[in-house]
Symmetry: C2
Subunit: 295 residues, 2 copies
């Protein structure tokens, strides 16, 4: 199947499943669900769920089994964006061209919508895990996601990121932020997919190595687009990192080195994926697609 | 063993285990861990962990097995207090006589410390679940906790609570708030304890009934203390519900009826617990202790 078709198929599967978790019914907590659904449906690329599906499909053929966990990781990613955008954090009014959650629903509800999404993610994943005869691989996958999202992963990275604003940081601190804030969840997507497919330890380890490189490449590319990207395509102002005095890969190492680093990391991924033959074509193409993206 | 001694023993076990999760070491994320530990060590009664231990001990004798989950539910309870106190929510400067988290660490870090505690709770519980040969009862216990803490439990109750400020609500809305914001987590503590002890379905159902009554009684007593309590003992201003135009049991039904309702609910609990004989003495005494408490 052509790459773009497969990508659309995966995204469609995830969106359909996400809709099941946000039915349009009038509950006592309509406002809370509306606020949660608003950010879930605000135009995310579904990168993490797609990675999870693709990693699972390296080892097993069905697409049904990992879907609750794909939705779980997307909910966790979404909550982190809602909280990141709050006035007490990055204080952003727009994301992907739409008003941020707190601009629409107010700060109090935005905080609770974020809390709600994080908690709901665990709820739906745990509920699904209990439907399987052997709960272990699924409990293991949820654990993998929880550590990546947590204090020694995404949240930890976000704290150091906030603390580093308006200060000149070194390369190792920048790597810490990128590896924890971004790469950890990308790695967990790939690893959780492989774990649910009961892949071998060496394969799970390969997913970890790929995730780290892909996550770093993804974040460096983000930083590059913040300088040379197209505002219309990105749906947000460019130059915001510079305005916020944020240290980035381009600001520390220059644009040219940053671009060659993205290429280098993408090649590292390809080398590992090649050992899986044709089955890994989609993931290889996805790496190139992310490297060449304009938004 | 005398009730107070047993209570102190349980609290001591929980505090010791909590300390293991917050070691005093210098990590990259020292500030985040400091903020999380500050609220964990801010004088909580450890009610939910104690209930979990007591429910577990109705069916099994060891105290080691449920401890990670006791810590997990205390972390979730603590995160909810940190977020509740934020300026965008209740805007409280003091809790239990100490400055609230955001007054000490700032709003951004307080939000992330709350997120961190919620996520860390799942992380430590899932990690423990994987150490057991049969992960199912433990995954089931975590699921029970997650639904109680979530959008159809504690978070849902909190949203309706915030939306109800400055409006006159009816008894059924007040019950919705109390049952979700407070009773759900108390019920989950008891149920999760019984589930981990692999108690029978009827016993788990009994824990649910007890939890609902105990949770309601606990919240009504809280509302009563907000009117007739002693500021020094409570560690916070009294009359704050009235100042915030919050509808409470006493404001809707009067103080006398509220007090008799607490007694009635406590008696309902006793009737069920009596069927467990001597083993349930601690939980019976705890019900009375909570009914008679002055803070």
């Amino acid at each position: 199947m052509e790459f773009k078709t497969q990508l659309m198929n995966y995204v469609e599967l995830v969106n359909k499943k996400l809709n099941e978790y946000f039915p349009m019914i009038d509950t006592t907590n309509k406002n809370l669900f509306d606020a949660m659904a608003y950010s879930i449906n605000a135009g995310g690329k579904r990168l993490r769920p797609v990675l999870m599906l693709a990693a699972y499909n390296l080892f097993r053929e069905d697409t049904e089994t990992p879907l609750p966990y794909c939705c779980g990781i997307e909910m966790i990613h979404t909550y982190s964006l809602i909280h990141d955008d709050l006035p007490a954090m990055d204080n952003d009014d727009y994301r992907r061209g739409k008003p941020t959650n707190h601009k629409v629903f107010g700060e109090g509800l935005a905080i609770l919508a974020g809390d709600g999404l994080l908690n709901y993610a665990f709820e739906i994943m745990l509920k699904d895990a209990l439907t399987h005869k052997d709960t272990r691989p699924f409990t293991q996958a949820i654990y993998e996601i929880s550590t990546a999202a947590g204090v020694n992963g995404m949240i930890g990275g976000q704290v150091v990121d906030i603390e580093s604003e308006n200060t000149l940081i070194d390369g190792s601190t920048l790597d810490y932020i990128h590896l924890n804030k971004t790469a950890a969840m990308i790695t967990a997507s790939l690893k959780a997919g492989a774990i649910m497919a009961e892949a071998k330890e060496t394969d799970i380890k390969n997913m970890e190595v790929i995730g780290r490189s892909l996550g770093l490449a993804f974040q460096i590319k983000d930083d590059i687009l913040d300088i040379i990207g197209d505002k219309g395509k990105l749906g947000k102002d460019i130059g915001s990192d510079m305005d916020n005095n944020k240290s980035t890969y381009p600001s520390l190492y220059g644009l040219e080195y940053s671009q060659s680093r993205v290429r280098e990391l993408t090649e590292e991924i390809e080398i590992i994926l090649n050992s899986y033959g044709n089955k890994s074509g989609f993931l290889r193409d996805l790496g190139i697609y992310l490297m060449e993206r304009e938004c």
